[in-house]
């Protein structure tokens, strides 16, 4: 992997906004706001990104603090060899046995 790429060192007043819809959900990146400081960024993010969509919590992160991989390296995320062993997908019979075992017990109860 190449060196971590700072998304932007210049945009001091730009914040990435992460919205958590319910406590069961992770915080998800939804967009950016311009703001002078974190408190104002949170206040402004609420109306720009949560005035319609459900929200229980917001994060804001200064852009200059975000590091990213390079799109030039995107191919390294693409498997070159068979990785199905990671998913258990090749063990379909076992999956069926496993699922039905649970169902039989549920039916008995």
């Amino acid at each position: 992997m190449g060196p971590a790429r700072r998304l932007s060192a210049l945009e001091q007043d730009v914040w990435a906004v992460f919205r958590q819809a319910t406590k069961h959900d992770p915080h998800v990146y939804v967009g950016d706001v311009h703001a002078s400081d974190p408190e104002m960024a949170l206040l402004l993010a609420k109306e720009q990104y949560a005035r319609r969509d459900p929200c229980v919590n917001l994060w804001v992160v200064r852009y200059s603090q975000i590091f990213a991989t390079d799109y030039g390296d995107a191919d390294m995320f693409r498997p070159a060899t068979d990785r199905s062993f990671r998913f258990g997908g090749s063990h379909r019979d076992q999956q069926r046995v496993y699922r039905e075992a649970g169902r039989r017990r549920d039916d008995e109860e």
Binding site: S36, D37, Y71, G72
Partner: protein, 313 residues
């Protein structure tokens, strides 16, 4: 702005074009041809400008909206347009120009905004026409742009289209209420339709010449459909909304051609569109002056915010 030509490494360019042709999208920070960046910036900046300028005709009617629910809905609608400007300026920023710079470009008349926002909103019926037909027209182009090759643009277009869809529904409610209303209300609506017809035809631009430039924009998927294609798409959907409510389209030549599945219409005066494009529309100067005025009045607020940010950092 676009007078210097870009010479690109032909191999890189070919690889880029092959990727875009295969339906791949371009992300911020990825290599892109200089001309692609410049054209994408020009388009998205103009789109952002149009959202913030597009707030102006309708916001004039917020204080006069005739019921409490209309007042809330119209305020929320104009707010959405302002919010779209926020999203779009941010996308434009990723192509290399700061929002501060773009706001300056706008109010000093160096960048453009869409033709329809250079016209006055004279009556409450204009609110209905703007929300149904102007937003309906915008929906045709924006809907197509969801498959733009510039990924950040395509992403925000999804949210924008989702919100525009509310606007059209809300607008149709205002429209139907006037259409089902008193003779005076109907007359008001007919008058607004008549005044907005030509700007609506203009909205999609002149029929495309088959120029190498247009071809390139389409190839790069910065433009997704041709002007005429989008105009016909609009007419098919919106002419019936006018006619079925018993209103008249102010074009005696307008007719549906079954064979070609297209509307024939009288060619509007394209010179007017060019004048409007040079900020010489009926409301261009007044609206830009008003923006400049507020920008000046907010100077001390911007300075205070900036100072506070430095103190807080």
């Amino acid at each position: 702005m676009s007078d210097h030509t870009h010479t690109e490494d032909p191999e890189r360019l070919a690889e880029f074009e092959a990727r875009v042709a295969a339906g791949e999208q371009v992300e911020t920070g990825e290599w892109m041809p200089g001309e692609y960046r410049q054209e994408a910036l020009r388009l998205i900046q103009m789109h952002a400008n149009s959202e913030i300028m597009g707030a102006m005709p309708e916001r004039e009617w917020i204080p006069r909206a005739p019921t409490l629910s209309r007042k809330m809905a119209l305020t929320a609608k104009v707010q959405d347009e302002v919010g779209h400007a926020q999203l779009l300026y941010r996308v434009a920023e990723t192509l290399g120009r700061s929002r501060v710079q773009m706001i300056a470009d706008l109010i000093e008349g160096r960048s453009k905004f869409h033709n329809v926002f250079h016209y006055p909103a004279e009556t409450w019926a204009d609110v209905a026409v703007i929300q149904v037909f102007v937003d309906g027209a915008a929906m045709q182009t924006q809907g197509a742009l969801r498959s733009s090759s510039y990924a950040p643009y395509a992403r925000v277009m999804k949210r924008i289209c989702y919100e525009e869809d509310f606007h059209i529904r809300l607008g149709l409610d205002v429209y139907r209420t006037l259409a089902d209303g008193t003779p005076r209300q109907r007359a008001m609506l007919q008058d607004a339709i008549t005044r907005w017809w030509v700007p609506l035809l203009h909205f999609f631009g002149m029929p495309d010449r088959v120029s190498p430039h247009t071809e390139k924009m389409l190839r790069w998927r910065l433009k997704v459909k041709s002007n005429e294609e989008l105009r016909q798409q609009f007419l098919r959907k919106f002419v019936p909304i006018i006619q079925e409510a018993g209103f008249t389209v102010p074009d005696p030549a307008l007719r549906w051609d079954e064979a070609s599945q297209r509307y024939a219409y009288a060619e509007p005066d394209w010179e007017e569109l060019k004048r409007v494009g040079r900020n010489q529309g009926p409301k261009s100067a007044e609206r830009l002056a008003l923006r400049q005025d507020y920008h000046r009045r907010h100077r001390w607020v911007r300075e205070a915010v900036e100072r506070w940010g430095l103190l807080a950092a």
